[in-house]
């Protein structure tokens, strides 16, 4: 076992291979306050990648309602249950064990192995509310709400220390040095399903037709051309942005992902305690139960929520959120100046420019020029 630096946990963790960070690390940020569970992302991925034989129940992107939803069934609770209660220090250092550290010697990763039945209900628990009794008396008057649920869109996290990769005895899984995307080599995979067992996020799936395991490919053909993944560019709510995240200490303030993750501390990794350094980051929902959110996003969740509530006062952050969803290209650098936010590609060329506040134009309902009443249909 090697000791590798995991900045999510502010400590070194055990991993079967040495630390070897990619030149750039693929990452997606999701604003959970804005997701409407329209599943457009799910379908965008499905029609692009998994409409073939053996992929009938396979959703590399899924959106589940928390706390009761889960694809596969209760995946996170079942992993948490195995791990047991663990602690964080006051300073945000993880004191508990990761799934690799907690693994029995004859396994590589502490895990639960999902069965067919677990994958069969991709949208179980949709819109189920948690919190106060439904009989009445509960009011949504204060934050957090006493009745709550939220939508959690998920892809593979292209982890820095992938559990899937660690578990594969054939070394058929690799992490690309150029962008950190984690792929299963479809020429070498023999369908042992070790990754399906080991991935704590349950994002490696078995294809019974090809008899190999398959997973989210991070839309690498698009990413190679500077274009964001299908599930990102098709997001109706414009709640997602894909880019590249730097490790702590190497963050650039003008990188949109680094800005939200490192500078503002607004976007947090989910279940960082699993120890894989997952690279999908979430802006936590401000209305949901805080204890639940702490379990999912760690001790920094309160600070992130407070930050989010004051976001409108930060013109740069405000500008950046306006850029999200405004271009299908990967924004490597952004700048906000005089009420205009601009995004630039890797070579530094401008790819998009948007006003931070749209101009409000008032006009009379009746347009004399065309002799008709105009509708403001958005």
């Amino acid at each position: 076992m090697s000791k590798v630096k995991n900045w999510h946990l502010k400590r070194e963790v055990e991993y079967p291979y040495d630390e070897s960070r990619p030149k750039k690390q693929w990452a997606i940020i999701f604003d959970l306050n804005k997701c409407i569970a329209c599943q457009t992302c799910t379908l965008a991925c499905k029609t692009t990648w998994t409409s073939g034989k053996g992929q009938e129940y396979m959703f590399w992107n899924n959106v589940e309602s928390k706390p009761y939803g889960g694809y596969p069934l209760a995946w996170d609770l079942r992993v948490l249950e195995k791990l047991g209660r663990q602690e964080w220090s006051e300073k945000g250092e993880y004191l508990g064990k990761t799934l690799i550290e907690a693994s029995p010697a004859h396994e590589r990763v502490l895990h639960f192995a999902p069965t067919d039945e677990d994958w069969m209900y991709p949208n179980v628990g949709e819109d189920d509310c948690a919190g106060a009794k439904v009989e009445g008396g509960g009011h949504i008057g204060a934050l957090p709400h006493d009745k709550w649920f939220f939508y959690l869109p998920r892809t593979c996290a292209h982890c820095t220390y992938p559990a899937c990769l660690a578990a594969c005895p054939r070394k058929a899984i690799y992490k690309r040095p150029e962008d950190g995307i984690v792929l299963i080599d479809q020429t070498r995979c023999k369908g042992y399903g070790e990754c399906v067992r080991a991935c704590p996020y349950k994002k490696s799936m078995y294809n019974p037709h090809t008899r190999t395991s398959e997973k989210c490919v991070g839309c690498y053909p698009a990413v190679e051309q500077g274009i964001q993944p299908q599930c990102v560019v098709n997001c109706i709510g414009k709640i997602r942005v894909m880019g590249f995240v730097s490790p702590e200490g190497k963050a650039r303030d003008d990188n949109p992902i680094d800005f939200l993750v490192h500078k503002l501390g607004l976007a947090l990794p989910y279940y960082p305690q699993f120890g894989t350094e997952p690279n999908i980051y979430y802006i936590p929902p401000i209305h949901a139960d805080r204890e639940y959110l702490k379990q999912m996003f760690g001790p920094k969740v309160e600070a992130a929520i407070e930050k989010y509530k004051k976001l409108a006062d930060d013109p740069v952050a405000h500008g950046l959120l306006c850029l999200i969803g405004s271009s299908d290209r990967i924004i490597h650098r952004f700048a906000v100046d005089k009420g205009v936010a601009a995004g630039f590609d890797e070579a530094g060329a401008e790819i998009v420019r948007v006003p931070v506040v749209e101009a409000v134009i008032e006009r009379a309902a009746y347009d004399a020029k065309i002799g008709a009443i105009r509708n403001n249909t958005p």
């Binding site: 004859h106 020429t187 294809n207």
Partner: protein, 290 residues
């Protein structure tokens, strides 16, 4: 007398006589621990693997002790296959190995989390010092014959369709089937990465895979040289015959009058064994072809 009795003891003797008189054979006495696997010549055509052939009656049985693969995780927590009973014959061209081991359930894999029963024979590729017994080592390759119940099912009944594996599965359509002329399999499969990449796993198998390896995590399926296999499961026991050509230049060869080496691995699919989750022999067994 029933073969099973020779190693399962008196209790099973009583049981198996009452439950499986059909496979009664005059078997050699209780198999001794195998020191050297002596492969005698038989005047029979070994091109077809036959677990019930008459010549097995006169071929001595040797007992080989297995251990849960101890070196790398993931591995079985306990030894699931304690012993296998080994016999071997040759016809001047091919060698046939007959292997028996206890396995409570027959498992052929198919769905998620279902794994296949299996057995592998391992031979060093080069003469001289033997390679590390577990998957060989760098510059010291090993040549494996890997039988799986799943592969045998493929050979006998074709690769199972999704509908066969999941009879209640439903799907609106597979868009790729409409890409070109309907029913054109090349179009339908063209977007399945493992298929288009030529991964043998995604194609119909014959009973036994040939594999080369030079250490852990290096095994690769190679184009076969006509090895065949046939396993039969009854009463909680597999009886399997793997037939291989004696000489496979560039891979492994068993030479008349000379001594070689063999090692074994067994997987019990019903116990979740696959890949490195297996029971193995911890040392090479000498093989003498006479």
């Amino acid at each position: 007398m029933n073969r099973t009795t020779t190693w399962l003891g008196a209790l099973v003797l009583a049981l198996s006589i009452s439950t499986s008189p059909a496979c009664s054979k005059s078997a050699p006495s209780k198999p001794e621990p195998l020191k050297t696997l002596v492969v005698s010549k038989v005047s029979a055509d070994l091109s077809k693997p036959d677990p019930d052939a008459a010549y097995w009656k006169d071929t001595p049985e040797g007992l080989v002790k297995m251990l849960a693969q101890p070196m790398i995780a993931p591995r079985p927590e306990t030894t699931t296959t304690e012993t296998i009973v080994v016999q071997a014959v040759h016809d001047g061209e091919r060698a046939a190995f007959r292997l028996r081991w206890k396995d409570a359930d027959k498992s052929e894999a198919g769905r998620l989390g279902e794994y296949s029963d299996g057995l592998a024979l391992e031979f060093p590729v080069k003469d001289g010092p033997t390679p590390p017994v577990m998957m060989g080592g760098q510059g010291m390759p090993v040549h494996l014959f890997h039988w799986r119940a799943q592969y045998q099912r493929d050979e006998e009944q074709g690769k199972p369709t999704v509908k066969q594996l999941y009879p209640n599965q439903s799907v609106d359509m597979y868009p790729h089937e409409y890409k070109e002329a309907p029913g054109n399999p090349s179009a339908a499969e063209a977007f399945l990465p493992a298929v288009i990449e030529g991964n043998p796993q995604a194609y119909q198998k014959v009973s036994v895979d040939e594999i080369l390896a030079e250490g852990y995590s290096t095994s690769s399926v190679v184009v076969g040289h006509g090895a065949t296999a046939k396993g039969a499961w009854a009463n909680g026991e597999w009886t399997l015959v793997i037939v291989r050509p004696l000489a496979i230049p560039g891979y492994s060869s068993l030479k008349l009058g000379a001594e070689g080496n063999v090692a074994f691995a067994v997987w019990q699919g019903g116990k979740g064994e696959v890949g490195s989750r297996k029971c193995v022999t911890m040392q090479w067994t000498p093989v003498r072809i006479q």
